[in-house]
Symmetry: C2
Subunit: 672 residues, 2 copies
């Protein structure tokens, strides 16, 4: 348990530094809101110029307060922060929430003050939320230190690098009747407390079922991944990362001065750590709400139960495009559906009730029961017009509809399978009672099929990730092999910054990766055994020179060479071409190696990412790297299951269709 | 003007066939709704069993009515339709709206009745909307023959193959305060009137600014494209086509029995014809509303004016991902912005006002004016928290905010540039007055940046398409060349179903497309001149046989062959390999041709699509065809501009980066 953040976000006593009697000031609004909401703890207005604020005794300094104080909301200007931190340290305050802007986000000018604050926080042992934040809240404690009203308490936690996103989420929730929120933290410039610590707090916070992060840039990406792996075993973590495009990255960076990395890499690594990464801001809240309500699922096979052919078709497209599978109904299921549905209804997936429910909503529950019993179905999605029968056809149907909703809720609980509803009538004014019953009983209801399908897809992904992380341990790196150390030391000794191909082959060989044999030929005599072999296995020949990186441009590559005379002739030619390409090039010799068998060329690389540290990359090699930009990333250390998924990630249909996935996955395990 | 559809959808007199006094029946509900809405024309209930319906005199048959009748809503069962059509024909009724189901959508059983109806409609000269439709409405005429209430009149027209989609659109409009609707037609099974005729009607309907189509399958795709090209010169046409995936296609087909084609082809062809194709059902209405309000635009350069760094970053990503360009502000614009914005605000695009508007909403209008004046900016997007200042900070700001909205509206009109607003406060309850002012004055307002960006992108696409279609005429095919006719006739004479490669080359050559020379070698003597040439230009050699299609598998291809002896040896080998591959193969000879220079391989093909007729395909050739499935389609005849866009469509970054677009476009012009 992170006790500092716990004392800040679940504070029993709060100082408002810069408390005020001026209604335009945050130091007034914060005190007023705490009083209005009947905050259960103690409130200490701090202001040397006034005896009281809104009826509460005001203190000149936190040091004048007799009782313990957990945290302080600091409403005073940026330049006061170092002194405030010193006082708070003396008082034993766990941390401050610093609203003021004017630190590193304004560039060099803010640098000195930023450094002073970091130092003051360290010396005085006081943690900082922000600065440049719009505040924090914990609605279950009735502590709302953000200037945003009308927020329903609930189970979504928010951590955001943009205060506006909180307003976006809460107004969206009001607009469509949920979800509610637990705790919010505006991270501001992350001078001290960073995303990983907030995530740790939310992992342990029982009021929060789904922590949601709006992230512009990480300051400690590697720690975040580590925490995320653990928290995702307990609850889903939903992340929106802005700055997917170069222009968006620049916009994000200029906002809070954080480092924004390459998006594809960030997304892959966050998903490796079990996080749910959403790429459209208008889908964040609905996915989070759905994940918070639904049980994890055993698979990706979905049955669609539709009132309306249009919605059945749209939902089908959306599910398939989200990577899910349309379940194949068992013969028994089809037979049982046929018995109760009208003749014109489809008894295959998607199942369209074809008006059969218009006068008989209960038919929905009966169909749902048959479908949930089918072992071929992992998840159920009800789409179309459910919940609007009384409104559309006959008011007398209302009771039957409400009962149907209750039965559907009970069925979802009984079978423990995820059940999502999409209804045109969701969030209408007034909202039909059958929809309300579903929503308040934990069934996610969506207006359109696409967000419903996306929510289902993210649930499947989260369920699989959770299982993968639990089942497949990270492979910790062993000590380097002696041969490998020798190769690298020699390269360093020769002051080169890259390996020769024969060294790279030896390095791979040292770790047990099969590579074709090769020899370094420095004279005709060296060709020796290769001459005989080359009649059966033609050879590849390449110049070895640290000064000739583009060997083909220098015409220093020969392929499929066979026979002693041809080998000799090509050896000479390569050396000559190398000299005419660059007379000063240092020539090590010519590499001769049997041609490899043809296959799918892949690329495996390791980069040191400034945000996440060592990261492995995998993708199609050769011309495909350039043509497809189709690579997948994982943080190291990784697990065997990560390697397997990484190969599946590679999108190209060519790659998928040729059934090479298995062999490549094996190669990748060996490589790591 | 399509006068039949005009008499149906803008009817002055309506017969309700199967009118009823039973409130559960559509024949009651329809009459009641017309009376309630005070339909201005005449209503004739038809029912032989009752003297009156809802106080109106009822007739036994339409033939008993003395006055003219424009159209009939038919509420009676499917089997009555042939007789109903006969009566209507005698009466001179232009068309019927047939609600009943039970025709071709139920398969073979419905076939006889379907055929009878088609014949009755033809013989009696009566048009059919449907059958299997939920009806039609024309709200500006106060004619609502659909069982859906609470629809606001407005400028969106709907044509849908799913009745539920109408409910989805109208409830969505109610949920977020617009748009309103003009006319609706549920096309049902399209037995008679098809999408192209509805589109023609909407093209001429002055109440409709944007016709919106929900399409599962076309029955006459080619005509639709032709009409679409014309209508798009007058107004945007928005289309959602379901059945993008194979499973979705099956779901769509089983719904109304229509033929659903390949989606990528359909999308490309609709866009060629100027249509706006939306792929997410939850975005249809917002895009349509936006396109209906905005003027066309001169370009794709967008300035973002943001209150809130988070929304600025999200909007930037969304714009770029939608293919738009972030405008580069002129130096003058930056200077002028700097003068009025706070020091911490960014005076580059996106422009974040950084709190500068919190007490001074008018700053927004001043910034907007500066940006709209900049010639480097084609479109303006305002994002973030605009409209919520009074609510968030101080009620006294309300007047200033409303005035700002009025100024923004006036600026948009003055400069004639598209202006879109995204505000967190849109569609909240109660909705802030400044937002209302924007919306009612023709500024589209969105809740989230993504749909706003998509709307902007579709506006840019529509504006360009409209211009392209107006400026670049279709190239009508000329008469076939005599050489080409001779080649094809010979192939037919030999009863082959494919051309030999040398014939294909000759065919291309006949139309002036440069191809490498080639000869057909049947004996060593034929090699003749090629031997000398081959030392400078190595040759490619391939078997010519109608029985050997996979030449490489048969080892009947040789590349880079040079020198007389090598040519001869390879000629022999190819013939031998062909015989051992298939002893009975009919061998025409060996094709010998100089190796082509290396370049980007492309594929150009023509297919006869069952829905749209002749369609040309263009994409990356060779392994890329398979790896990328990266092809673009256009209906023939096409224009030069179509050819140019087709090449740009090809998504591969490899393709784009290498600057080959121009030369490929030239090739494509020649090819068509």
């Amino acid at each position: 348990m992170n006790s500092d953040l716990d004392r800040i976000l679940s504070a029993n006593s709060i100082a408002i530094i810069g408390a005020s009697n001026n209604p335009a000031k945050r130091g007034y609004q914060a005190v007023k809101k705490l009083l209005e909401d009947r905050f259960a703890g103690s409130i200490y207005p701090i202001n040397p110029k006034t005896p009281e604020v809104l009826g509460l005794k005001a203190y000149a300094s936190v040091l004048d307060v007799a009782d313990d104080i957990d945290m302080a909301l600091v409403c005073t200007p940026a330049k006061t922060l170092p002194d405030v931190l010193a006082d708070c340290g003396k008082k034993g305050i766990a941390g401050i929430v610093a609203l003021a802007a004017g630190f590193n986000e304004i560039g060099a000018e803010g640098g000195t003050l930023t450094a002073a604050c970091i130092e003051a926080a360290r010396v005085n042992n006081v943690r900082i939320v922000g600065p440049n934040t719009n505040g924090v809240f914990n609605l279950h404690n009735r502590m709302n230190l953000v200037g945003v009203n009308d927020i329903e308490p609930g189970h979504i936690g928010i951590v955001s690098q943009s205060g506006n996103m909180l307003v976006a989420f809460t107004t969206e929730a009001n607009r469509r009747g949920g979800p509610g929120f637990s705790t919010y933290a505006g991270v501001g410039n992350q001078l001290d407390i960073r995303f990983n610590e907030y995530l740790e707090y939310f992992g342990n916070d029982e009021s929060t079922k789904v922590p949601v992060f709006y992230i512009e840039g990480f300051k400690n990406g590697r720690h975040f991944l580590d925490v995320c792996r653990e928290v995702c075993q307990k609850k889903p973590v939903v992340i929106y990362k802005s700055g997917r495009t170069e222009a968006g990255r620049i916009a994000a960076v200029s906002h809070t001065g954080a480092l924004a990395g390459r998006f594809n890499l960030t997304r892959d690594l966050l998903r490796q750590a079990g996080a749910t990464v959403i790429e459209q801001s208008d889908r964040i809240l609905s996915v989070a709400e759905g994940l918070g309500k639904l049980p994890t699922t055993c698979g990706d096979r979905v049955a669609i139960l539709a009132d309306g052919g249009g919605h059945a078709a749209i939902a089908t497209d959306a599910l398939i495009e989200n990577g899910l599978t349309l379940a194949t109904l068992s013969d028994d299921t089809r037979k049982r559906l046929k018995e109760i549905l009208p003749q014109s209804a489809a008894s295959q997936n998607p199942i369209d009730v074809a008006g059969g429910t218009d006068n008989n909503p209960d038919l929905f529950a009966r169909c749902a029961c048959i479908l949930l019993e089918d072992e071929n179905i992992d998840n159920l999605m009800i789409v179309g017009m459910y919940g609007g029968y009384a409104e559309r056809f006959n008011e007398d149907l209302l009771n039957a509809e409400v009962e149907t909703s209750e039965r559907v809720v009970a069925l979802a609980k009984r079978f423990g399978k995820p059940l999502i509803v999409q209804s045109v009538y969701n969030a209408t004014q007034p909202e039909p009672e059958p929809i309300k019953v579903l929503k308040k009983s934990g069934i996610p209801v969506f207006v359109w099929p696409e967000p419903a399908a996306q929510c289902m897809a993210e649930l499947v992904r989260y369920s699989k990730s959770k299982e993968r992380i639990a089942a497949s341990p990270l492979i910790e790196p062993g000590s380097p092999m002696e041969e490998a150390i020798a190769i690298i030391e020699n390269v360093q000794f020769e002051k080169r910054d890259s390996l020769y191909e024969f060294e790279a082959r030896d390095l791979l060989g040292a770790y047990g990766i099969a590579v074709p044999p090769c020899i370094v030929v420095r004279s005709h005599a060296d060709l020796g055994t290769m001459c005989g072999e080359s009649s059966a296995n033609p050879m590849a020949m390449k110049i070895i020179s640290q000064d000739i990186l583009h060997k083909t441009d220098a015409d220093c590559v020969r392929l499929k060479v066979s026979g002693a005379s041809s080998l000799s002739a090509n050896f000479e030619e390569i050396l000559e071409n190398a000299k005419s390409y660059d007379a000063d090039a240092r020539i090590e010799g010519v590499l001769v190696s049997p041609m490899a068998q043809s296959g799918v060329e892949v690329i495996i690389g390791v980069i040191h990412d400034p945000i996440f540290g060592p990261v492995v990359m995998f993708g199609l090699g050769g011309v495909y790297v350039e043509a497809l930009e189709d690579v997948s990333f994982r943080a190291l250390p990784m697990s065997k299951a990560d390697a397997r998924e990484m190969v599946k990630d590679v999108q190209s249909p060519r790659f998928r269709d040729r059934g090479v996935i298995k062999s490549r996955a094996a190669l990748l395990y060996t490589a790591i």
